[in-house]
Symmetry: C2
Subunit: 380 residues, 2 copies
């Protein structure tokens, strides 16, 4: 059981305009994606892995010459791993508006010849799924064995099951929610305000000013990061430990770094602000806020999921307070009301929302067992 | 049972230098305070009310000509109220470093003739208590009937019981904690980073630039405010309601206001940024972070509270996730281990941390009953 090894991203250009939920459209666009494993002759073993806020098409494997470049779900996807690339043909695709290669705010707007910036149209989870479906068309995949994602990726999997019921046999929704709560939206709006009010944001046109709204991105990431970790896990890992514990172990009495947790979060914020695009952060948080498939059904999630035909796996983590198990149970209950076949696992894990990305034997084993079942069905 | 009516703040100047925990000292300083009710002949009916982050000496009553100027705990303090000013002589005092009249960062530093700004020395909960004790000396109060506070105010009450065991008969610690968690500190540091990186902060010397770091303060307040409300209460009050619900009830597809919760938080943030001082926000959050009486006792809260002599009332609120009931129980357990007399109430209230400021019959009744007991002891 190892990594896939070296992988190579690919691009696919789409000349057909994409009409978006907002009413805007993208005249043409490019998607960056990666594939692992082999598509079988029946074209029936494809699995689409959807990414969350700050991830990309680079799900597994490494890039040549960069052994530290492992994909964001390399522990989940690879030869002999829970999603076994010896069995399945796995696709990771960077979403529209993201900043890792697919068409986004930093690319030129054909209408103006300048980067889109804040003029890049707001895209929704459903828009992403529509774009992903076109990629599947081009790759000759009529039906996925599974569409799978965690967090925002789980929302895309759920949207797939609603929008294209017969194009997936299994839908795997991990650490996700059928809609954000007021508190979730509130945290996203704090992050957005931090970016929007950074003078280096320049109304979204910072590219042409040769600057990046780093301070805003840093604060945005810090507040986001807090919501990814559990209170207990933070207490365990950092507690009130001082950064200078090995030296004076005294308070500094200034506004520098006193506590390890400050050092950690500021570092995470700084690092993030160096690689992530501010406009992308804004529009992805809006996609999160807007996702609410029950909205067209007067808030009735059961009705929203009535059109689904897939089988489902839903997974939540006990200490996830961003998208708590309660939110996953809403999905499960709505599916059960529709008499869908659902496997639900509530994993007792200490790592909060981040748990969906981490190694945890029970979690990995249950996903593995689920893929074993898909594989056996496939072989039958 | 009504308001006290019009009240008038007073000031007291202290020419004696105050040595601070940091090692710095304030050469001289002024405290702003208010008193309600009458000090009895025995000088035994005084109650000190300590304020939290953004409050002040103005605990109860109104200012002449401004009927909307009710004090921050006007529902708790007044004639016939739980803390009955017909019985008790109540003192509210603005803490050093705050921005409501006591010596703080916006006042002139005698050493430079310019506002202190970020050069105002960091003050701790214990420093505040030391300054409050001097005010009590001047007012001729040797022993308080009670020292009481909520949140950061509760920390001051607790510090009083440790630092001046025989100067208070009762210590009332509400919605508080013996120390911040890593998560609490993390949220405070996000707020500080938002302020410190606002270009209008000017290293703390924004006064002389004629600007205020409003954007930073706004983000700081927004993130703070989220932690004051419970998830359930936010869901109940705001949910996913759109601000334009009465009109189109459609998403705006821009970065303006979509949801009511965004409108509410941004409004709160804007309002706060107009009246609160950025340097004060920074230093008060550090006072919160630093409070940890068990720190000098190798983390042993029982030992830290061994010197106390008061009787205690501790109150927590079930949905308070900022300072959860668990944190109050730590205080109670440490006091019980010391064989102190403790009344503990865990109030089942939906309003999160903010509950300590709100009307709630069970909460108000238990505080009232506790003051009735103090009054009866007093009369005995």
């Amino acid at each position: 059981m190892g990594s896939i090894g070296n992988v190579t991203p690919q691009t696919m250009h789409f000349a057909e305009p994409l009409r978006l939920q907002s009413g805007s459209q993208l005249a043409d666009y490019t998607l960056m994606y990666e594939t692992y494993g082999e598509l079988n002759a029946a074209r029936s073993n494809a699995v689409l892995v959807c990414h969350a806020l700050n991830a990309s098409h680079h799900v597994a494997g490494t890039y040549e010459g960069d052994p530290k470049s492992a994909g964001w779900w390399d522990n989940m996807v690879g030869p002999g791993k829970p999603l076994d690339t010896n069995r399945f043909f796995v696709i990771g695709v960077n979403n529209l508006g993201s900043c890792f290669g697919s068409t986004g705010p930093m690319h030129n707007n054909p209408a103006t010849g300048k980067p889109y910036g804040a003029a890049f149209p707001l895209v929704t989870v459903e828009d992403w799924v529509a774009a992903q479906a076109r990629l599947a068309d081009r790759l000759g995949i009529e039906q996925f064995a599974a569409v799978m994602g965690g967090s925002l990726g789980g929302m895309q999997a759920l949207a797939w099951s609603i929008m294209f019921p017969v194009r997936l046999r299994h839908c795997m929704v991990i650490a996700s929610t059928p809609k954000l709560s007021a508190q979730n939206i509130a945290f996203n709006d704090v992050a957005r305000q931090a970016i929007l009010t950074d003078p280096d944001y320049h109304g979204g046109d910072f590219y042409e000013h040769g600057v990046v709204p780093k301070n805003g991105l840093k604060v945005a990431r810090m507040v986001g990061h807090i919501t990814y970790l559990s209170n207990d896990d933070m207490a365990e890992k950092f507690g009130r430990k001082l950064r200078n514990a090995a030296e004076t172990n005294e308070y500094a009495f200034d506004f520098g770094v006193d506590f390890e947790i400050e050092s950690y979060l500021r570092y995470q914020g700084d690092k993030f602000s160096e690689y992530f695009d501010a406009n992308t952060y804004l529009l992805i948080t809006k996609a999160l806020d807007y996702f609410d498939p029950a909205r067209s059904f007067n808030g009735d999630l059961t009705k929203a999921l009535a059109s689904t035909a897939a089988q489902f796996m839903v997974v939540s983590f006990t200490t996830d307070w961003r998208f708590s198990p309660e939110r996953s149970r809403e999905i499960v209950e709505a599916l059960v009301s529709n008499r869908r076949r659902v496997t639900y696992a509530e994993i007792d894990a200490p790592h909060g929302h981040d748990a969906f990305l981490l190694e945890d034997a029970r979690y990995m084993n249950i996903v593995r067992a689920y893929y074993d079942r898909i594989w056996l069905e496939e072989a039958a």
